[in-house]
Symmetry: C2
Subunit: 185 residues, 2 copies
DNA sequence: ATTGCATAGTAAAGAAAGTGACTATGGGCC
DNA sequence: GGCCCATAGTCACTTTCTTTACTATGCAAT
């Protein structure tokens, strides 16, 4: 009931295929909503059946045909209605932090390795977000963009993604420092 | 397959009832893992059936009887095995950010109100975490605690919760500032 | 006297999500 | 020629989660 809205939000800007959306969910939407490609394809079918989306088949020469989805009037109405509802509280699922919580009952060396992995993944996502931010800004400063730009929503969610990843990295450094001190190699 | 580990982590420290766990998941574990009471009761049953937990009935005078769960040897082994697995990537579900992403297609006044609500909820959780941190530290400084304390895991996850909520608040301020500028009341 | 809150749970349907395998085309690499 | 990668999906199965609605007890406030 909520993935739909993330899809409507993504499709409201541009017509896309399931494949395009899967990439977008992997690279940027994952910041605030995660979904697997299978989920997307399933949900897109349902939404088309319910009249929120319309689809058109595009034949391609050099690659497989694709279906491009776009938001219908009904879909736009649903998105507007969603924007008026009070959003559910954020939910987080972070297995690494479960491991850290149980540090005293687990394998410290292994958890330490997981923290390092996690930090590297955050660094890599952070780079992607920063690149994307530069793309949105173009040659404008943040301030010029905020005064006149027309992709405020994506700008704001991107900022949240950036600060989240920065905090992930800072936290990982803290945790590794603590572990180095208490559990020397 | 993963909620169990969060439960094992919570129970490894102290024997608890389902009700206790529900409170803990609401107030602190929610930082890195969310679960409803119904999920917990169901999972606890399964885990007891599989031998990861043992339960004992405690009769109470002034309130309903309760069942206290504790981790068995098998449960400890499962937790150790979990700590050695590579954790799945963090997943986030944040409806507010979906609304913000679709700002241009939604009701800005309503989204603004949601951001304010969200900020207040973060402030309140932040206060709770800071209190909990003071409880863990007692009269020690962070540094003394890190040198000798014995609840390092909870300390670290709490730090992550605190920085997360601080960033939520800072982001909300940013977003409200941007909206005030672009969509004056 | 009743309402509301905290404690302590249970039941069961239905929606959503995750997992793994599979089909197909074309391009580039070695 | 064989292999992997990117594109563009589909299918089936299973697990997990959410939602809604229940049962009970005792305390405190109005």
């Amino acid at each position: 009931m909520a993935l739909r809205n993330a899809l409507l939000a993504a499709l409201a800007d541009r017509e896309s295929s399931g494949y395009d959306l899967a990439k977008k969910f992997r690279s940027s939407v994952a910041n605030f909503w995660t979904a697997t490609p299978q989920q997307l394809y399933r949900e897109l079918e349902k939404m088309e059946a319910e009249g929120l989306l319309s689809a058109r088949l595009v034949k391609q020469d050099k690659r497989p045909d694709k279906r491009l989805f776009s938001v219908t009037g009904e879909g736009r109405a649903a998105l507007l209605a969603f924007s008026r509802r009070s959003p559910k509280p954020t939910t987080v699922r972070d297995e690494l932090l479960v491991q850290v919580e149980a540090l005293a009952h687990g394998d410290v060396a292994s958890v330490r390795a997981s923290i390092v992995e996690h930090r590297e993944a955050s660094r890599s996502r952070l780079k992607g977000y920063e690149q994307r931010l530069r793309d949105i800004l173009g040659d404008r400063t943040d301030d010029e963009f905020l005064a006149t730009g027309n992709r405020l929503g994506p700008y704001l969610t991107l900022q949240r993604g950036i600060s989240f990843e920065r905090e992930n990295i800072a936290w990982a450094e803290l945790a590794l420092g603590v572990l180095a001190r208490r559990y020397p190699l």
